[in-house]
C-alpha cells in the first residue's frame, strides 16, 4: 500500500518470477530431457526452437528443466549454513575462551582453502553428486555467517544493557535470547540474498566442473560444460543455459544489493539532495557590514525530507573578535559554521541565504577548487572530535605541512613554523613526529589546534574545543589562542555549549534555536504503588546503613592500586556523592560494589551482610537489591525493546507483581520518574537522552532496590535535562527510600544533592585510556 511496499514488491518481482520458472521448469519442458531426438548439435526445427545438444537432445527442454535442482540444493545449503553458523557464532561470543578459539579455528580452516578448492576436496570425499556439493557449499558459507554472528553478538554483549541484565541476575539463555538475538535479525536477514546467490553460484560452478549430478541430468552448469565444444556450430546449446543462469544470478544479486543497502530507503532523497533547489546566487556583492571578514545572511538548510534544520541564520565575523555560536544540541551550530566555509553536510540541502568568506562568496555553487584555495588562504578549522578529526597514521609534522603547503609557505620555513604552531597550541616540538593515534584526547585536541593555527589564518573556526578535556589545560590553551587572535586581528568563531567558555571568551554571542522544536511530553501526576510499599527490609538492628564499604582496596588492571583502603557508609535512604579527578577510581568503586570488579582487599556490606565476590556468587535476591544506572543512556537500553517491555522485564523476572497488574505497575514506575505512561509503546530511539535515562532509572526501580549506583548518569545530557534527572533521583530516594551512590564530575549534580561530596584523591599516574 505504501510506496515502500510497492518498491519492495518491484525489487522482488523479477526474482520471484525467475525462481518460480526455474522451480516449475521440469513440468514446463515440452520434450524429453534425456532422449535424443535429432543428430548431435542439430539446428532449430519445429518444436525444437533451440536445436539439439551434443547428444542430440532438445536444448529447450533441458534448459527449462536445468534450474530446479540447482535452486533446491542452494536453498538447502543456505538454511543449513545459517542454522549451524548462528549456533556456533553465539556460542563463541558467549562462552569466549576455548570455545571461541575452537570456533574461530574451524572458520579459519574453512577460509584457508579457496572456495572451489574446498569444493574439490569435499567432492573427492563424498564422490560427485548433489550432496557433496551441498556440503561443500555449507562449508563455504559457514565462516562468514559465524563471523557475522560472532561480531554482532560480541558487540551486543558489550553494551550496557547486557551488563545491567547480567547484574540483575538474568540467565545466560535469557541474556542471549532477549538482549542479543534482536541485534542479529537485521544483519543476518540482509545477508540472506547474498549468501543464497553465492550458493547458487557455487552449485552452478560445481556442475560445470563435473562435480555435480552425472551427465544425463539436466543442469545449466553441466550443459555449458558438455556443449562448449559445439559453440561454433550450435551456440544456443551453451548460450541458453548460460543466459538463464546469468538472469537468475543477476536478479538475485540485484535484489541482494537493494536489501543490503537499507539506507536505500532514501536514495531518491539523497539524489535530490545533490542539487540545491535554490542555489544561492554567487557574487551578490560584499557583505553589507564593512570590515567583516565572513558573514552568513539568512542561511536556510533543510534535510532530505524537506524539514528545516537551520532556518534563517545570520552570523558575522570581525577581525580580532570572538563570536560564540551557542544553542541546544541538534540546532545546527556545526552546520552553520560549515556553511560559512562553503561546505554542506551530506544529507542537507542549502535552500536559502548567502555566505561570504574573506570577501568572496561561498556555498555549494562555488567550484570546489576555488573554495579550497579560499579556505587555504583564510581559514583554520578545528573539528569537533579530535580523535576522528585527525588521520591516525599521519605524523603531526606532515599534517601541519599539508596546511602550510596549501598556503604556499616556502619549504624552507615550514619546519620552523611547524614547531611554532605546536608550541602555540601548548605542545613542544617533539610532538612533530608523533602520530595522532599515540596522543591522548587532550593532546589530540591541541594537535588539531596546531594544524588550524599553522598558517596564521585570518579566520579561526573552533567546534566545541572544550568538550571532553580537562578544564585546566583547555583554559590555558584557549586563553593563549584567544589572546593572540585579539592581538593579531584574527576572527574567531567558537561553537560551544560550554557556558563558562562562552562567557569567558566571547565578545558576541549568537544563539541558534532548534528550527522545529520537538514536542515536550507532558508530565503526568500519577501515583506509584512504590510509594505505598512498606519500607524495604528494615536494617538489621543498630546503624541503619544501606551500604558499608570497609578498607576497600582495588588493583589497577596492570599493577598497583587504584583505590587504597577506602571506607564509606551510605545510610538507608541516604545519598553519597563521589567526586574526584578522572582516573581516580570513581567508576571502579561503583563497579566493585556492583560486583563487576573484584577487590584486592576489604569488604562491602549491604544491610550489614558482606557481599560475595565475584558477581557469579551473588544470589538473585542479592543482585536485585543493588542496581546500576549506567553512564550512557544511549547504550543502556536495548534499542529493539519497547519502553514498556524494558521496565516490565525486572517485574517479570522477580515476579514482584501479578501478571495482571504488570501494565499498571509499569505506568506507575514511568510516572514516578516523570515520564508519560504513553511512552511505554515507544522504542528507545524515539526518546531524548533525558527520557532514556529516566527509563533506565524506572527499570532499576522495578527491582525495588535497596541501593542505586549512578555512574555519571548526567554526562550525556544537557544542563537542564541533567538537573531534572538528578531531581528525579533525589525524589525517588525520598519517596521510595532507595539509597543513592552517585559518581559524578559535574559540580551542578553535587550541588543539587544533599550532603557534602566524598572526594577521591587523584592517583599517582593516569590510567591508560580505556579503549
Amino acid at each position: 500500500m505504501s510506496r515502500g511496499t510497492v518498491r519492495r514488491a518491484l525489487v522482488w518481482a523479477p526474482v520471484a518470477l525467475l525462481v518460480a520458472a526455474a522451480l516449475a521448469g521440469p513440468a514446463l519442458a515440452p520434450g524429453s530431457v534425456a532422449a535424443p531426438v535429432d543428430i548431435p548439435y542439430g539446428p532449430p526445427a519445429p518444436g525444437r526452437p533451440l536445436g539439439t545438444d551434443y547428444a542430440g537432445v532438445d536444448v529447450l527442454s533441458r534448459t527449462l528443466a536445468g534450474g530446479q535442482r540447482l535452486l533446491l540444493t542452494a536453498a538447502l545449503a543456505t538454511v543449513l549454513a545459517y542454522a549451524l553458523g548462528t549456533a556456533l557464532g553465539l556460542l563463541a561470543a558467549h562462552r569466549r575462551g576455548g570455545v571461541d578459539t575452537a570456533v574461530g579455528g574451524v572458520a579459519d580452516l574453512l577460509l584457508a582453502l579457496p572456495a572451489f578448492v574446498l569444493l574439490a576436496v569435499v567432492v573427492v570425499a563424498t564422490g560427485p553428486g548433489v550432496l557433496g556439493v551441498a556440503a561443500a557449499t555449507v562449508g563455504i558459507l559457514l565462516p562468514d555467517v559465524v563471523r557475522t554472528v560472532r561480531a554482532v553478538a560480541r558487540s551486543a554483549l558489550a553494551r550496557d544493557h547486557v551488563e545491567v541484565a547480567v547484574l540483575r541476575g538474568e540467565s545466560g539463555p535469557a541474556v542471549l535470547g532477549r538482549e542479543v538475538l534482536p541485534y542479529l535479525a537485521r544483519p543476518l536477514a540482509a545477508d540472506v540474498p547474498i549468501r543464497f546467490t553465492a550458493a547458487v553460484y557455487t552449485g552452478a560452478t560445481a556442475a560445470f566442473l563435473g562435480f555435480g549430478a552425472a551427465p544425463p541430468t539436466p543442469d545449466w552448469g553441466l550443459m555449458v560444460f558438455e556443449n562448449r565444444a559445439g559453440l561454433g556450430i550450435q551456440p544456443a546449446a551453451v548460450l541458453a543455459p548460460a543466459a538463464c543462469l546469468f538472469a537468475l544470478l543477476l536478479a538475485l544479486s540485484w535484489a541482494a544489493g537493494r536489501v543490503g543497502d537499507r539506507g536505500g530507503a532514501a536514495p531518491a532523497a539523497a539524489r535530490r539532495g545533490r542539487r540545491p533547489s535554490a542555489p544561492p546566487a554567487a557574487g551578490t556583492g560584499a557583505p553589507d557590514a564593512a570590515g567583516a571578514v565572513a558573514a552568513l545572511r539568512g542561511l536556510e538548510l533543510r534535510d532530505s525530507a524537506g524539514r528545516a534544520v537551520v532556518g534563517g541564520a545570520h552570523l558575522t565575523l570581525w577581525p580580532g573578535r570572538v563570536v560564540a555560536l551557542v544553542g541546544p544540541s541538534g540546532c545546527g551550530k556545526t552546520s552553520c559554521a560549515l556553511a560559512l566555509l562553503g561546505a554542506v553536510r551530506p544529507g542537507l540541502v542549502w535552500t536559502g541565504g548567502v555566505a561570504h568568506l574573506a570577501g568572496e562568496p561561498t556555498g555549494p555553487a562555488v567550484p570546489r577548487r576555488r573554495l579550497r584555495r579560499l579556505r587555504a588562504r583564510s581559514v583554520g578549522y578545528v573539528a569537533q572530535d579530535p580523535r576522528t578529526g585527525l588521520p591516525p597514521h599521519r605524523p603531526l609534522r606532515r599534517l601541519i605541512g599539508d596546511v602550510l603547503a596549501a598556503r604556499a609557505v616556502p619549504r624552507a620555513r615550514r619546519a620552523a613554523q611547524t614547531v611554532a604552531a605546536l608550541r602555540r597550541a601548548g605542545l613542544d616540538g617533539s610532538f612533530a613526529d608523533r602520530r595522532p593515534h599515540t596522543l591522548s584526547g587532550g593532546q589530540a585536541q591541541r594537535a588539531a589546534l596546531a594544524v588550524a593555527l599553522a598558517a596564521d589564518p585570518p579566520i579561526l573556526v573552533l567546534d566545541e574545543p572544550t568538550s571532553g578535556l580537562d578544564p585546566a589545560t583547555t583554559a590555558a590553551v584557549l586563553d593563549e589562542v584567544v589572546r593572540r587572535a585579539r592581538g593579531g586581528g584574527t576572527a574567531v568563531l567558537l561553537i560551544s555549549h560550554d557556558e563558562a567558555a562562552v562567557t569567558r571568551y566571547a565578545d558576541e554571542v549568537v544563539r541558534l534555536d532548534r528550527a522545529a522544536a520537538a514536542p515536550v511530553p507532558p508530565v503526568p501526576s500519577a501515583t506509584s504503588t512504590l510509594r505505598a510499599l512498606p519500607a524495604p527490609e528494615p536494617p538489621a538492628g543498630g546503624a541503619p546503613a544501606a551500604l558499608r564499604v570497609r578498607d576497600l582496596t582495588v588493583g589497577r588492571p596492570g599493577a598497583g592500586t587504584l583505590i587504597d583502603g577506602l571506607s564509606l557508609t551510605v545510610p538507608a535512604g541516604g545519598v553519597v556523592t563521589v567526586v574526584g579527578p578522572s582516573g581516580c577510581g570513581k567508576s571502579t568503586l561503583l563497579r566493585t560494589v556492583a560486583g563487576l570488579v573484584e577487590p584486592v582487599d576489604g569488604e562491602v556490606l549491604l544491610d550489614g551482610e558482606p557481599l560475595p565476590f565475584p558477581l557469579a556468587r551473588r544470589t538473585g535476591a542479592l543482585r536485585r537489591r543493588i542496581q546500576l544506572i549506567a553512564q550512557n543512556p544511549y547504550a543502556s537500553l536495548n534499542p529493539h525493546h519497547r519502553v514498556g517491555a524494558i521496565v516490565a522485564r525486572p517485574l517479570r523476572q522477580f515476579r514482584t507483581v501479578p501478571p495482571a497488574a504488570l501494565a499498571d505497575e509499569v505506568d506507575a514506575l514511568l510516572a514516578l520518574v516523570s515520564l508519560d505512561p504513553d511512552l511505554a509503546h515507544r522504542l528507545p530511539a524515539a526518546l531524548s537522552g533525558g527520557q532514556r535515562q529516566r527509563v533506565a532509572i524506572a527499570r532499576a526501580l522495578a527491582c525495588r532496590p535497596r541501593l542505586l549506583l549512578c555512574d555519571e548518569v548526567t554526562s550525556a545530557l544537557d544542563a537542564t535535562t541533567a538537573a531534572a534527572v538528578v531531581d528525579t533521583l533525589d525524589e525517588v530516594r525520598r519517596t521510595a527510600g532507595t539509597a543513592l551512590m552517585v559518581v559524578t564530575h559535574d559540580p551542578a549534580v553535587v550541588a543539587r544533592l544533599p550532603g557534602a561530596p566524598l572526594t577521591l584523591p587523584a592517583t599517582g599516574e593516569r590510567r591508560p585510556p580505556r579503549d
Binding site: A112, F116, V121, P128, F208, F246, W254, R375, P391, A406
Partner: protein, 338 residues
C-alpha cells in the same frame, strides 16, 4: 628556556617506545606465522581425512569393481593402505615435509613432477590477472568512492552488480563466443606445446586473464569503493578540506591510507579467490596449469594429486592472507580500521 631544548628529552624516551614497538611487531609477526602454520597443519589433517579416509579405498577404486580380491589386497599393502589411519597420516605428512608428495594413481608419475611442469603456467596466469585486477580495482573503487551516490558511483555500482552475477564460466563462454568464435581474434583454447610456457604465446593468456579479472573485479571494486567512501566522508578528510588542503593530497594522504588497511584483508581474499577461480578458467580454456590438473584429478579420484594440490592452494592462500594482514597492521598502527 632554550628553543632547542624541547627536542631533547623526548629523544630519550622515543627510542624506548620504538624498540618496544619493534619487538611488539616482531612478536606479532612470529605469532601470525605460528598461527598460519597451525592452520596449514589443520588443513593437512582435514584434507587427509576427507580424501584418504572418507573417499573409500583407493586400491579397489584403481582396480575397478571386477578385480581379484587378492590383487586388491596386494595393492593395498603396496600403497600402505592397511596401516592404521594415524600412521598413514603421519607417514604422508612426513613424506610431504621432505618434498615427497606421492605418485599419481592414474599416470604413475610423481606428483612433484606434475607440479614442476605446471606451477609456472599457473603462476603466470595468476600474476597476470592480479596485475590487471589490482590497479583497475583501486582506480575504479577510488573514483566511485569519492563521488558517493553520484553518477560515476552509480555506474560503477550497477556494472559491479552485473559482473557479480556472472560466474567465471559464463564470462569465459561469453568471451570465447565473441572474441574466438565470432571475431576469431584470439584462440578459444589455450593450447601450449609440450614444455613451452605461455610467455612464448601471450595470445593464449588474453582470454583466461580477462575472464579471471572480470569475475573478481566486482567484489574488489566494491571493497575499495566502500572503504574510500567512508574515509572520504570521515572527519579527518573533512577537516583537511576545510583547512584548505588540496583534494589530490587529501585523497593520497588522508583517504587512501585510511581506506586501504581495512580493504586489504578482503583484497587478499579476492586474490585467493583467483586461485579457486583458476579451476574454472583453466578448465574452460584447457590451460595447462595446476588448477585444470586438480579438476581432472578430482574427476578421476586421483587422491595423491588432489591432496598435494589442495595443500599447495591452502599454503598460497594462507601466505597471501598473512601478508595482507601484516601489511594492514603496518599501514594502520592505530588499528582504527578494525
Amino acid at each position: 628556556m632554550g628553543d632547542r631544548a624541547p627536542a631533547r628529552p623526548p629523544r630519550a624516551s622515543v627510542p624506548g617506545r620504538l624498540v618496544a614497538g619493534r619487538s611488539g611487531a616482531g612478536r606479532l609477526v612470529a605469532g601470525r606465522l605460528l598461527g598460519a602454520l597451525a592452520v596449514l597443519l589443520a588443513v593437512t589433517l582435514g584434507v587427509f581425512v576427507a580424501t584418504a579416509l572418507a573417499a573409500g579405498d583407493a586400491a579397489s577404486a584403481r582396480l575397478g569393481p571386477a578385480a581379484d580380491p587378492a590383487t586388491v589386497q596386494a595393492l593395498r599393502t603396496e600403497l600402505g593402505l592397511d596401516q592404521p589411519p594415524a600412521q598413514r597420516y603421519l607417514g604422508w605428512l612426513g613424506a610431504a615435509a621432505r618434498g615427497d608428495l606421492g605418485t599419481s594413481l592414474i599416470s604413475g608419475r610423481p606428483v612433484t613432477d606434475l607440479i614442476a611442469d605446471r606451477l609456472g603456467n599457473s603462476a603466470i596466469l595468476a600474476a597476470a590477472a592480479a596485475a590487471v585486477l589490482t590497479p583497475a580495482a583501486l582506480l575504479l573503487g577510488t573514483w566511485a568512492g569519492l563521488r558517493p551516490r553520484r553518477r560515476p558511483d552509480r555506474v560503477v555500482g550497477a556494472a559491479s552488480v552485473v559482473l557479480l552475477a556472472l560466474p567465471e564460466f559464463v564470462v569465459g563462454v561469453a568471451l570465447v563466443s565473441v572474441f574466438a568464435v565470432g571475431l576469431g581474434w584470439l584462440p578459444a583454447v589455450s593450447y601450449l606445446p609440450e614444455g613451452q610456457g605461455p610467455l612464448g604465446q601471450p595470445s593464449v593468456l588474453v582470454l583466461p586473464v580477462a575472464a579471471l579479472t572480470l569475475a573478481s573485479l566486482a567484489p574488489t571494486v566494491r571493497l575499495v569503493r566502500a572503504g574510500v567512501a567512508v574515509a572520504g566522508a570521515a572527519d579527518a578528510a573533512a577537516a583537511a578540506r576545510l583547512n584548505g588542503v588540496p583534494e589530490g593530497r587529501v585523497v593520497r594522504c588522508y583517504v587512501l591510507p585510511a581506506a586501504l588497511p581495512a580493504a586489504l584483508p578482503m583484497l587478499a581474499r579476492t586474490l585467493t579467490y583467483l586461485l579457486g577461480g583458476a579451476l574454472v578458467v583453466e578448465t574452460l580454456f584447457g590451460y595447462p596449469g595446476l588448477a585444470s590438473a586438480m579438476v581432472e584429478a578430482v574427476n578421476q579420484r586421483d587422491v595423491p594429486v588432489v591432496q598435494a594440490l589442495a595443500l599447495l592452494a591452502a599454503a598460497a592462500a594462507v601466505a597471501v592472507n598473512l601478508c595482507a594482514d601484516l601489511a594492514a597492521r603496518a599501514l594502520d598502527p592505530a588499528g582504527s580500521a578494525r
